[in-house]
Subunit: 263 residues, 6 copies
């Protein structure tokens, strides 16, 4: 690629992507609503609020790939979610349509289906069961991607990210963890496959424990390599086992299912 | 019921509901963004913009049922759809949560799945394939209803309305038509079943032709009685048969699939 | 048939069958653990405890069809259920095997799946979710029938009876009701079809409301004719609507799901 | 239509179609390998061997619809089946491709799936289980239709005909019977629907007994009206009930499953 | 755990568990109908007949986990199966209910589905097809576990054990073998997962050959490590290949499908 | 085996099989329509046109296994495909039936389903979507194998071969590649499993990228070992990435979907 846009570049995943994806494009265009580190070699830094239609239109120009990590990524008050994940997503897809439809890696979330129980294994066709306003906003994003694919041919990888951290942080993350290495290889696969379409793919490592049928990853050639099991002793030592009926034991979405509506 | 709120009361479906649902509640509270006919006996008329959070909070108060027909119901520019069908829906569910969670009949749409082909029969679990921004906004509404059901127990009937008119207006509506009588009986069923949950139900009559597996209607006891077939001669006389690859022949959503993004 | 054995002949369904099935066989052999009315023309009356192995062996002799309505049909203490529905069923199948494997109509029950929610439509392959010891005993009976079919070729119709009364008695029975006429025609179909196999079939009328996909009835040619809807006004007048979270509103099995273990 | 080609016009179904489909086209072009009655008004009669490539090319010219009933329709020696149903079908599709791709009603057969058991209900997506060389040739025809649809856009209705006679002739036909009236209305639906695609549809009346999920008929608007049940007494009087393990009791395909390979 | 009850402790699996599960609980309470080796350190030994209600009530007291390997584990006369696997299971669940509902590992069996053919791959939702009275009794056990989960919240892992021996003993066991190491790790997973629910899980190693979709193991984090393939040469040298239509070649349940009813 | 017949022995797969399968039988009987290298030790060489009924009858005599690689294996004019893959297959199955029904490894093809899109993962039960006359002929072969299995008990492994070469040759083959070693081990599994039945199995290595659910391979104990990923750098260096809407990017069948009908 000539230019890969990374939104949400000031966040954890964004920083990781910035540090490790230089080989994917001649230039990385980095964007966030917050301030970012200054541009390095082969970088462009553009501060941008996704809810600003004109700014997003400008941001996407000249890019031939988009790694969309931006917007709100946890449960927040509605106004913030609406600005970043509803208005912002509309702006992004309209900008992509105006600028040659660069392929999009869209960071959606397990919180679109967070109210399934942990004794249920689901695949990517299971009807949505969002666990909060954030999850609802990601359902919206998935629907928007579907529309632009059906109507205009825009390609998007809908990556339902589990929990992408250096290592899992609690027992639930044993099942939802995606390692940084696996995250990077997943991005590579998305931008490498000749025809992407608009698939939903679980963003999760090859953990022993899990609730998601990850077979759709095969169509883009992604085979994650890491396994949360190497951290089990550490995780179990760090905290007591929660009760069977605690939200973090019960639901795919864990504690998100117990969050109130933020005001 | 003591008081049934009807949103979108100035629209065609709203007028129909107003005229025929007096028996369902002591009082009908009628609401629309547009002007409505003055309140008759056992009626309250409240003009209200659904995107006005405080107004919606007041509107829902004291209601023990909501027939939600309001918001935008065709393809329009994004700002209008966002105001009525995104912000408005958030406002509605928050107001319902604050006021005892009256059961909601939510008019969603076949345009949530409009990009399925007419040679595919689908059921209500088929992944969404919206055919426009309007359809995407209804996917959002369905996700919001699911969240409030999972998290708070709010009951909603997600009625994917086909085409509710006095009679079908073109060949595609032979398949998507819901008669006014069937529409009324469907509303009665939604408010009568002891436990509703949050089902998705196709709002379509017992037409000979169709693409939707209507079996989920049985769980609320709705058996539509009318059949578009009685209008076939009339419809076929009125216009030539479209080509097999015309949007109205090809997709569930018909011409919506060919609409541009409105600006 | 020469001789049709009816077990449970002193019960309500048994009496109904006795009164109306004379045309199916030269002789009706009537059996129950309780006393029955004396034998009429073309009848034999044999009092018999199903848990008595030798008695059952004698009972089945010379019969070429069995309408098995006997055993316990409600939630009771375990000893009674075990005697009638476990030991008794083993005895019945062993007797059938010894005596030419007469075709069996086996009255099983919706209580084998009573813990599904009323907003779920299921078919006959849904995994069992019994709602009491009675339901568990019927799961056992279905498994026994399957074994004797696979291993010995014994044919059984596993009829999951909903609620067979003159008319529905409460709101839940609007969905589960099987009319006496439909019950009789179902028995006729079971004994008429050239090859029966060992199908599971819902014993329920053509009610507007319901949670069961009744399509498996078609393979034996049974099309029920009655509809509980004609009793709706009467039912709704007789009692208030239960709460959405009451057992009779929530689960297929209704109040059985709330029964304690009997002691 | 201007001109509808009917192949197999000398057979029973062909004669029926000839007699009753005059309203569908200005001209009926009638073809068979055998002699036919002379052309009447608005008819053309063309004797033609389907295995003759040039003749079929000529036959299809100027037609804008094809009712393909020709070829072998029972179990016969291989050479005959190959000539009519393999070579002939290739010739037909090539001719259609050369001449504007007129829509095709293709008479395929329940013998493509004849080895399913009568205690199994299947839909049109069940893997093939042909019951003879005839059935295999029809599997070939369905595959050919699929190819020409995917590659060239040729539309075909793959109608798996059960047993189309004036009335059912034995107990198995109680389940497989399609009445002449339903056959005619089915043809009308195939040539009337704006977009046909390449669906598989069971050609069977609305019989009480059956093993086929007929829901795919709805997409073309066909709702059969007749029911074999009105002939039950007559059928049952005419012959004894076959044993449960007789081929006509056991399999969808009936006695075809017991036919040897013809030599 | 403070105290883990192991039933069937005198059997092969019981001895294995006794030898290797000391780390799971402060005390192992060992029980069997037969005599066992005397109690070692941190062990309690209680001889007990599962069909003795009072004894089982006492046995379960003070345990916070149950490894239920007891009862009959092969085809036997009905009285023995009923005592151990019907009455005994009722007694066990009632005792668990009375004593705080300790989590249960329930050794159920592939013989619940033994009549599936070896050319069919099934998952845990496939309808039961037991291959003997033993298999029927395990269907009963699975139904009982489901009831106590739905009604009381009792958690059970329904482990359908294939063939757990030091190494596979015949060609069928190449597919059904579970190694002792994998058996032990499976038990650890069952008692470690925060929320267990009532899942069905195949107790089988990671063999190259198999007929069971083992994906449900992932929800409890069990990834078996062993593979019967290392024993192939040894197994194939030991005996001739059975015919394709021999019971051990034909069915999941192998020779059990050919066992008579024991008397 | 005493004698294994290999058809298509002059082709690439045939030569590979000839070179490496000597251990499977006392004698390899090698056959092709073209000339082959002279018979070596334990070999018989028989030139034979599969469309010659008598010759095939003789060819199959005395064989107790058939590796059927013969016939046409790419898109060709119809006459050639019909001779080799239609008539030839009929001749082969009739010869097998006459000579003790030796087990058959039948090389069918991914081109039976070549018109599925590369963003769809399918399993072996997906309805056929052939991508050319060659693919249609293989659908025919699969139907023929099914018939002879249902009617006569003939066992066949229907191996849908992807692309079997020394290494993958283009990006599409990254997904469809089967290594020579995996091909050989697959043949061994087919002739080793006690009961084969008539399964459909994808002939594809354990590649990271793919569109086929390979789980049916487990029932015959085949676990492929190779992975095309080791050739990725080489493949990507050799050619530019095709457009997303190029046939080789779009469909399982790749360029076959764009081939014309050969004349």
């Amino acid at each position: 690629m000539k230019r890969l846009l990374i939104t949400g570049a000031a966040g954890n995943l964004g920083k990781l992507a910035r540090a490790r994806l230089g080989h994917l494009a001649d230039v990385l265009r980095l964007s966030d609503i917050s301030e970012m580190a200054p541009a390095g070699a082969n970088e462009e830094v553009v501060q941008c609020d996704l809810s600003d239609e004109a700014a997003v239109m400008e941001l996407v120009k000249d890019c031939d790939g988009i790694l969309h990590l931006g917007g709100v990524s946890v449960e927040r008050e509605w106004k913030l979610i609406e600005a970043g994940n509803i208005t912002g997503v509309y702006n992004l897809y309209e900008a992509a349509r105006a600028h040659g439809m660069p392929r999009i890696f869209f960071a959606t979330s397990n919180h679109t289906i967070g109210f399934y129980r942990q004794d249920q294994v689901i695949d990517t066709t299971a009807p949505m069961k969002p666990d909060g306003l954030y999850g609802v906003s990601k359902c919206f994003g998935e629907a928007m991607a579907s529309l632009y694919h059906s109507k205009f041919g825009q390609e998007t990888a809908l990556i339902r990210i589990g929990s992408c951290f250096e290592k899992p942080r609690d027992r639930r993350m044993m099942a939802t963890w995606m390692s940084p290495d696996d995250f990077i290889s997943l991005i590579e696969c998305v931008f490498r496959v000749p025809m992407l379409g608009c698939p939903v793919i679980w963003g999760v490592s090859d953990n022993d424990v899990g609730w998601w049928d990850t077979s759709s990853a095969k169509q883009i050639g992604w085979r994650p390599k890491d396994n949360s099991e190497v951290y089990r002793a550490e995780i179990e030592a760090a905290s007591d086992c929660p009760d069977a009926d605690a939200p973090q034991s019960m639901y795919h979405g864990g504690l998100f299912t117990a969050e109130p509506i933020h005001k």
